[in-house]
Structures are given as C-alpha cells and as structure tokens.
Amino acid sequence: MIDFWLDSRSGVAPYLQVVQQVRHAFRLGMLREGDQLPTVKDVVASLAINPNTVLKAYRELEHEGLVKPRPGVGTFVTRSLPDDMIEIYRPLRRELESWLVKARRAGLDHESIEALVASTFRAEQDVA
Amino acid sequence: MTWLTWRQLRLQALTLGLLAAAIVVVAAVTGPNLADAVTGNSSPYDQLTSTDRTLFTAGIVVLAVLPALLGAFWGGPMVARELEAGTHQLAWTQSVTRRRWLATKLGLTTAIAALVVGVTSLAITWWSSSIDGAVSSASGALPERLTPVSFAMRGLTPLGYAVFAVALGALVGAIVRRTTLAMAITLAVFIAIQIAVPIWVRPNLIPPTIETIAFSQKTFAGITIRGDQLLIELHTPNRSDWVIANETIDTDGDPATVPEWFRDCLPGVDGGNTAPTRVGNEDPLWDCLTQLTDAGYRQRLVYQSADRFWRLQWAETSTYLIVSALLALASYWWIRHRLA
C-alpha cells in the first residue's frame, strides 16, 4: 500500500501533495487497478493532518477518474498504467542506471549529478 | 465527585481515623480504673498518678489542637491547592458544575472532620468526667469543665469548631488562592476567634445568672490583693459553676473599689489570701464584713451554673455550625462571582 508524506515547507497545499503522490505512484506502476488507497483514518493517524485534506484529495482523484470510493470498504484505484508503459520504462531505466554508473566513474558526486540532470531537463523544457 | 473527594482525602482521613481509634482504646482501657480510684473520695486529685494527670492534659491538648489542624490542612488547601494546580478546571470540565464541586468537597470533608473529632471528644469527655474539677486536700486541682480551659475541649463543641475551621479554611483558600498562605491565615483567624469567643460570646449565649448577695461567712471565698487594691470574692452555689464576674458594688449598683477603712479594719493583712479561721461573731474579719454590709456594699456574681453545661454546649455548637453554613455560602458566592 502507498505511504504518504508531507513536505510542510514546499508551499504546495497538503491535499495537492497527496494527489501528486498518488499520481506519481500510478505513473511508476506502483499502483494498479484494484489496489486500495489507505483509509482516511490511517492517513490522518500517520501524517497528523486534517481529515478534510485527505477527503479533498481523494475527491480530486475521483474527479480525475483515477480512483473510486466503495462505501463502507475504502477507496480503490480504477485504472492501471497500460502494461506497455511499464515495458517502455524498463529499457529507459536500464539506460539511466548505466549512465549513472558512468557518471560516478567520472568522479561526479551526488549533487553534481542532480545539477547536471536538472539543468539539462530545464534546457529541454525551454526548447519544447 | 464524592469518590474523587474521598480519594484525595483518603490517606489523611484514615490516619486520623486510626488516631481517633487509638484514643478511644486508651480511654476505654484506663477509664474504668480511674473512675474506681476516685469515686467517693473527698480529695480525688491526690489519687491521681502522674500518668493520669499527663493523660488528662494530653486529652485537652489533642482536642484543642485538632480542629485548628483540620482547618489548616483540610480547609485551607481544599480550594486553594486546586486553584494553584489548575485541577479545578479538570473537574469542572468533566461535567461537574461549580455548585456540585464545592458542595461535595465541603460536605464530605466537614462530615469526616466532624466524625473524627466527635468520636475523639466523646471518648475524652467520658474518660475525664470522673476527674473534671478534682480537688486535692493540699494544693492543686484540675480545671472544671465549664471553665474556658476545658469547655472548648469537651462534649460537642470540638465538633463544631472542626466544621467551622474547615469551612473557614475553604473560604480563605478561595480568596487568597495560595495554599500555604491560606493555611497560615486560617490558623491565625481561627485562633483569634477561639480566644474571643469565651470572652465575649460564650458568657452571653444563654443569659447568665446574675445575683446580688450580701457578704456572709457561708459565701465568703477570700480576699486577694492586686497592686494596692483589695478584691473580695464570694462563692457561687456550686463549685463547678463558671464565674464570669465577681465584683463588689456600692449602693447605686456600680462596681466599686473596697474602701480604705476596710483595709485598716482587717487584721494582719499583708498580702495573699486570708480565709476565716474561726466562725463566730468575735471574728474580726466578720466584723469588718458586717460594717461593709451596713455601708451598703454588696457583691454581684455573674455566672453560668454547673447544670447548664450541656445547654451551653448545644448553644455554642449550633452557633458554630450556623456560621459554618454561612461561610460555605460565602465560598460558593465568591467562586461563582469573583473567581470564575
């Protein structure tokens, strides 16, 4: 089951963080159709956030068609990432892993790698 | 709320209960022997051992001190400690109204105080009843139970004092809101009142007997010298009476000093008591006294007769209990309108 966290300094509203984390998990194939999201009570007990926040997030996800509540049971994921998406991820992930090995061997530390990736990513976004 | 109050008072109440039980046991064990030893004896004081005398004094001390201690340790902290710790808020937010809170605390605490002090007083009063006022053939005597020294430590009155002291402590605690300060003030006020009552209140609780009598050998008790004044004292009907005033009055009924010529009349007056050694008209003392009577002087006795002991006890105890009820109402008013 997915485990949420809250970044109180990110400036992003708590409910939005929950939505983003569900979407993120979905995109990485960690959430599949039929999986149950944690109950409101469980989320609230672990994060110490207002239950309305969780309810709002789950409502938003339902609005996006990603989840559906089953009264008395819980909230369940209604879609899966298409299997071919996971297939597409696999070779890309392997390429990334070997690139990382190369970068390490070249002497880059953790921060340098992150900076390199971020700036390349941003440059790519600006062009696109 | 009763449970909570008892739980907070439990340890002290049980300790006091044990103390009271111990006193009852000692009284029950030694009492009958004591009564046997002194019954029918003309000078019972001489029959007393030093243990007996110590126990007698201890009995008076215990009953004198107990109400004051209860007032300080049970009354003072009752409201003050809760205010200091903020625990009054805890009770009040557990669906207890302020009235129920105070009524239960005061009610249970004074009830336990009354019970403990009542039982102790009963035991000590019963034990001392055979030797109150015991006289000796030589010198020394035990105080009569109507006198201020004993009256407050006999019968019902200690019970009334205990209830009063606790109620007083609760009110003081509510006003000053600090436990140690409340204890000190309660003690001070209680002691002041206990000193004032025998002087101003008790003599008039029941209208005292006032007699104006002539000097006679039968009634003559003695002459004392205070400074340069002579004071004549006469007997009241019963030795055990509580004499409130014993003063010489002139023809107008006003208190008067004994005239100078009386002193010159008396034989060998050089200080200390003189008592008639011979009965008869040739007695020079009797002559002087007769002259005094002819000159219009009388003696006024104001006293509470010995048979009034229990009436006075009831009167004083109920007065204290009524005042305690008023104090309780004052505490409630203070808490409701000034405190919270």
């Binding site: 809250l6 109180s8 400036g11 509203a13 708590p14 409910y15 409101v40 009570k41 609230v44 007990a45 672990s46 994060l47 110490a48 956030i49 207002n50 239950p51 309305n52 926040t53 | 709320m1 449970w3 909570l4 739980r7 907070q8 710790a85 903020g86 625990t87 009054h88 808020q89 805890l90 009770a91 009040w92 937010t93 557990q94 669906s95 207890v96 109204t97 302020r98 129920r100 409701r336 309108h337 919270a340």
Partner: protein, 296 residues
C-alpha cells in the same frame, strides 16, 4: 455553515485590566479551527470562558447553543484540554479514567481504554510521573471519551518535544476522523496549525483580524514585490494587508480574488505563517475596523 460557538461583545475584566474586550467570534461547526494571536490577545481567556471555567464580565457567549457551564448537560458536550494540562498528581492513570467515568454524564469507557492501550500508558502509573507528552495524551483521552461536540485545546503541545507533539496531533486527527467533532485549538506553532486546521482565526487585542477557511485564504493572498510604489495606487479589487518599503523596493501582501495583471510585480503565494503574521502586524485601528471574514 452552522456555528458551534458564538461570542458577541465578550469581555473579561480583572480589576481595571481587560484581558478580553469586545470580542465577537463565530466558530464553524464540523471544522478544526486554529486560534492564533500574540500573547495577551485574549486567546486563553476566550477559551476558558467557552469551557465554562471563567465567567465573562460583559457580553454574551453560546457554546453548543447554550451558555457555558449553565448545566451539567451543557458541560458534557464540551471537552477541554486546558493549558499546561493539569492532572491530579496523586491519582494514577487508571484513577483518572475512573474519575472521568464517575463525573461525566456521557462516557465511552471502551474508547478511553483503547486509547490508553494504543498509547501504551501504564494504568498504575502515578500521574505526576508521566512525561509531558503522556500527560497531554491522558488529558486528551479524558476529553475525547466524553464524546464531546466541541473540543477545546489551549496550547496543548507548547511544551512538548517534536515527537510527542506529532503523536499528540496524530491522535487528535484520528479522533476527528472518527467523530463528528468541532475542534478549536490555540497554538503558537503555525506550522502545526497548517497541517491540522482547515479554518483559522487570528485574534489580536481581543479583536478578530481575520477568520476563514485556510485554503481559501491561501489561494487569495499574494506577496507582491516590485519597485517602490505608493500604497494608494493599488487597484480597488486588491486589499492591502501589509506593506513594507525600502527606498527602492516595495513588498505588499494583498488579498484579491482577481488575477494580478500588472507585470511590474513579482507575484508569489504566501504560507500560512506569513499570512498570520501579516494580519497580526496590522495596527489596531484598521480603516474600517471590521474583521476580514472569508467563507469557504
């Protein structure tokens, strides 16, 4: 939106000093409302009056539809975690629960013991030997087991370490998720309030400066940074909350529903703490003196 607490012109005086003066507040039912303000603003006084522990000197207040402490039944509907979490030092944890069961009209014993078990509190432990966090949890248990309609918490986590604080808020939020309960919690730690509250009231000098739904407030307040500008030149649909200027630069915090069109401004959202601070730093006499009410 129904109100669970309604105060009108509420005041409390000690001698010549007013701890609370002319306070008018509406607390929405079914929400967790945070009460913030500087020390001496009257938060504790207001909460104590609402709890029925203090009588007001002037004004009126109704909690759950009745005057506080007017009856045992009214007291039963309000649960309180008072400042400094007072407990009976000589009583054990179990005895505190027994007290709660005996004194209260409504008492859920099963809930109380379930909480104790989950918190791993030793029932035989004397209350004065508990840690600060355990004390706070005990008092919260006593308040929750009453099944109140309104739960009042006065700075419950102020003196707790971060772990104890987090655990307390977790327990509190779990209870809110379980019950239809309104909560008002006063605190200095705005970051805690941001997680836990969906409604906020800022109280300064006994006056409500702003009261509203947290998300709506955060969505409608912005920080504008730009070249130095006179405050009177702001468009009419932008309400100025706080203004700061150096000789070159102006920083404004404004409230507005409309988008900000002027390109000279660098616009950013502000966090709850900055928003609260902005309202707290306003002068006592505002332009019209009326508080800002923002509905959901």
């Amino acid at each position: 939106m129904t109100t669970i607490l309604e105060a009108r012109g509420l005041g409390k005086r000690y001698g010549r000093r007013w701890a609370l003066q002319d306070c008018t507040v509406d607390l929405p039912a079914g929400h967790v409302t945070g009460l913030v303000g500087p020390n001496g603003a009257g938060k504790t006084t207001l909460l104590n009056i609402a709890a029925g522990v203090l009588s007001p000197s002037t004004g009126t207040i109704e909690v759950c539809g009745k005057r506080p402490a007017s009856s045992a039944a009214q007291l039963a509907r309000v649960g309180v975690v008072a400042q400094h979490t007072p407990i009976f030092a000589a009583l054990t944890v179990a005895e505190h629960l027994e007290m709660g069961a005996r004194l209260n009209l409504t008492w859920d014993d099963a809930l109380a013991w379930r909480r104790l078990d989950a918190l791993r509190l030793d029932p035989k432990q004397r209350a004065d030997r508990l840690s600060g966090g355990q004390r706070a949890q005990l008092v919260l248990t006593l308040a929750l087991a009453k099944r109140p309609e309104l739960l009042i918490l006065d700075e419950p986590v102020a003196s707790l370490d971060p772990l104890a604080r987090r655990e307390f808020l977790q327990g509190l939020m779990e209870a809110v998720a379980d019950n239809e309960m309104s909560v008002v919690i006063s605190s200095h730690l705005v970051s805690d309030l941001e997680r836990v509250c969906d409604h906020i009231i800022v109280l300064v000098d006994s006056k409500v400066r702003v009261s509203g739904d947290v998300e709506t407030l955060l969505d409608t307040h912005y920080r504008l940074v730009g070249p130095r500008r006179d405050t009177t030149r702001l468009p009419s649909d932008q309400h100025l909350v706080e203004a700061r200027s150096t000789d070159r630069q102006s920083t404004f915090i404004v409230r507005t529903e409309a988008p900000i069109a002027d390109p000279v401004w660098s616009v950013s959202r502000i966090g709850l703490e900055d928003l609260v601070l902005a309202y707290m730093s306003q002068p006592t006499e505002g332009p019209r003196g009326r508080p800002l009410e923002v509905a959901q």
